[in-house]
Symmetry: C2
Subunit: 351 residues, 2 copies
């Protein structure tokens, strides 16, 4: 698959399928691993990083058919292409920005991906749409086992997997679910969710991870610590908490419809009206309006727009994808024009 195909497709995690997909956009697990016979990334010279990339890359391409097509060395990609991978959640913003030798491998359906030489030698990720942590764990555990048969991972009998940053030592796991919580934002109850999560050591972050804003009412809930616990316990912890947040959001949606039915319908239809007529749309406003349309679809106020369409617009209007769709680099104001034009075209059939 060429990177250019990314201008027309969305990855598995944006398919809008899976359990509770009206609220749970995606489930994600990543594992941090390092090769025992190499220095950590931050201590290794470029030549050693090159060797690591080559070693892991060759293995994947030769031994795992799933990674045969999507394998990119960052040095071979321009800035827009790197940011396409960020927007698809296949690599981190740091991985796109750094200059040292590094790469990413991904399965065709973008469920599985492996960053090579990010903060750790290996960052394995599985990304699924809907609430599917158990399935996700099965997939990433299988990948981890397969790799551990080929490579010797840095592992300490007492501490577990060793990682470049101490917060990842132990299991090296981060488990997160991305939730769409517009009703809790609207009723200003979202702060209560933050406080509740923080009490049980779970983090709440925005769309693109640490330090990013919750554009489009999308929030990621994830574990903070990975040391001294079994992977299954960490997953169980998140799995036991998320249904409560889902129920809380559903209750808020019902409450809004019950107490402000007309005002809510009016607000949601107007959001669609803005998207259908605007000539200038920033990325931020687009996410904000799409959030309303996603809510409208979930609440059966505008039932005819499939969530896959909303997700596709959501992804393809992000700056890098938009430039790929348009076929050229765009200045910020040009982006706002092209974004509005693309959104109008995509939504023209919905009233």
């Amino acid at each position: 698959m060429e990177l250019s195909d990314f201008s027309t497709t969305v990855g598995e995690w944006l398919k809008g399928e899976g359990p509770d997909s009206d609220i749970v956009v995606s489930s994600r697990i990543r594992l941090a691993r390092n090769l025992a016979d190499h220095r950590f990334h931050n201590r290794a010279a470029p030549a050693e990083l090159e060797a690591i990339e080559s070693e892991i890359g060759s293995f994947l391409r030769e031994n795992d058919g799933r990674f045969a097509k999507l394998y990119y060395r960052m040095a071979d990609l321009d800035e827009i292409e790197r940011h396409i991978l960020v927007e698809r959640h296949l690599i981190s913003r740091e991985h796109a920005a750094a200059e040292s030798p590094r790469a990413v491998a991904a399965s065709d359906d973008e469920r599985l991906s492996i960053m090579i030489n990010e903060e750790d030698h290996l960052r394995l990720q599985v990304l699924r749409s809907g609430m599917r942590l158990a399935e996700a764990w099965g997939e990433i555990d299988e990948l981890d086992n397969r790799l551990s048969r080929a490579f010797k991972f840095a592992f300490h009998a007492k501490w577990g997997y060793l990682t470049a940053c101490p917060t990842n030592v132990g299991t090296g796991i981060r488990v997160s679910v991305m939730l769409h919580l517009p009703a809790l934002v609207l009723t200003r109850e979202i702060e209560k969710v933050f406080r509740a999560m923080s009490k049980i050591n779970l983090a709440v972050r925005g769309l693109y991870g640490e330090g990013t804003q919750a554009y489009g009412d999308l929030y990621q809930i994830s574990n903070q610590t990975s040391l001294g616990k079994q992977e299954e316990k960490i997953i169980d912890n998140i799995e036991s908490v998320v249904p409560g947040v889902i129920a809380y959001e559903r209750k808020a949606r019902k409450h809004i419809l019950a107490t402000n039915h007309l005002q809510t319908e009016d607000r949601l239809h107007r959001a669609l009206g803005m998207l259908k007529t605007a000539r200038l749309l920033t990325s931020e406003e687009t996410m904000h309006l799409l959030s309303a349309v996603r809510l409208a679809a979930a609440m059966q106020v505008i039932p005819e727009i499939p969530s896959s369409t909303i997700n596709e617009i959501f992804l393809l209007t992000q700056p890098a994808h938009l430039q790929k769709v348009t076929g050229r680099a765009l200045a910020p104001e040009e982006r706002d024009i092209e974004r509005a034009s693309y959104v109008r075209k995509r939504l023209s059939t919905y009233v």
Copy 2:
């Protein structure tokens, strides 16, 4: 013609025709007259007012075919019907509200109308779309002459026509043009127009006359004094001033398009988007959004919407007309629902 026909038609002044009709909505002249052999309205007992109404009403119905169909005694109309006449600018708000015997006669095309027993015994009015004060003067002068042959008007050799309020003594004339000045509002230059008009003794008022707000960026410019000047001089004065205001508005429109082309297009298209999708619309917001759409049509940004359609929506979404269209009395929130529903239906064919 029945009052119910008013739920589907607009009067001549909202046809969107005539010179400079992109900016000049309508031209209006009214004359205040009183019968010499009766007390002024504020001094007359109900029986005398009844006699006046009957005398003038009979004459009009019997001698002037133009007023044969539209003749209404206020006592025969309910509140909604009276307000329909106010919204059509056929009677004043005061004429609708007062309890004393009074009536209105109007020509089929609603160009000519006569309030009987408003503040004066007779208030003759001519209302034309576009900038047509000279034509309007010809029509009202002819009507005035015709009536003055049938009735003896209160007239003083030195002071001229005598009226209930001293501000109308002399010619009894008020000349006004209603202008759509959205670009001057947007560029905040409208205050300069106010100051310039006030210096030459012209008044600037909102849509429904004295003390009303300029909803929908509509402003009426009219003479303040009617004493000591010839009618033609008063008309000339307004006719000499209005082209400057028109040019000023046109310049502001060009300036907006030249300096903020995209932002302007975006704003105007969004206004149409709101009207096409909202589920709740107050009368005020509707006028505000229609003002943007009217501007968009005039600037060729959304050229496919005829100004007659905009004017029709403008009139038929006013509270009394809306209730006539719907066929029943509506509480304010019901009106906002029905108004939004009517506007969506009317604009559904425009993208």
